[in-house]
Subunit: 139 residues, 2 copies
């Protein structure tokens, strides 16, 4: 058994999130996803749309995800890797190089992000769509 | 084995969608979700944010979902029920009474929607959040 971990906010679940989770599967058999807590997002100054409980519940219900843990600070990663016997630590390549210090504890992989999709872009596009459609409120 | 089906757009996957899918499980063991095609949404005059392929892929990867089929017109339901040997047809209670004609073919259930969450509301709130935060573009 090979255990893989990734960390993220996973606000407004989209196809880029799903593809990332699916790609983790090619690196191991047990998938752990650390979802950032609301407090941690506040510390980072990161605004999220959905609360931790909802973001976590969705991730926990994606096929292939075995465990969701909360990400509550910057320092927990080494402890997580040891505690959960992680073999591969994976992040998007927007973090390239940033977690190389973890190579002492496990394999570190940076994956290319799905092009043209991010939560920021979704929020922007919704805003533009709404402006151009004068808020018809359809869904 | 009892087969359950529901129909929906499932644009911008959220906790209300997840809870609906989970509740289907209490009515049967095999879960089929019909996801509206882009063409069908155009016919209905319904604007969606994500294309069918992405909406479908996310639903297909939710734990508990066994099959995703496209919803391409208003008339396919009786055929779907027969073809997939559906025992229970389930919709949100915003459709209460609208599909009683299917009772001839299977059980028809209307479930209460998760309160305070819908794709329309999400789009509206994002818009408001962005306006009040002056588009910091965080995600």
């Amino acid at each position: 058994m090979k255990t893989v971990i990734t960390y993220g906010t996973f606000d407004m679940f989209h196809i880029g999130h799903l593809r990332l989770i699916q790609r983790l599967k090619s690196y191991g058999t047990r998938i752990i996803v650390a979802v950032s807590s609301d407090d941690f997002n506040r510390i980072k100054g990161k605004k999220v749309f959905f609360p931790y409980q909802q973001r976590k519940e969705i991730i926990a219900n994606i096929k292939g995800v075995d465990l969701v843990i909360p990400e509550i600070n910057w320092e927990q990663k080494i402890e997580d890797i040891k505690k959960h016997k992680v073999d591969v630590f994976i992040m998007g390549d927007d973090w390239e190089g940033k977690f190389d210090f973890l190579k002492e504890y496990c394999e570190v992989v940076y994956l290319p992000r799905t092009k043209n999709i991010s939560t920021s872009q979704i929020k922007q596009s919704i805003n533009q769509m709404r402006q151009s459609n004068q808020s018809k409120g359809q869904a």
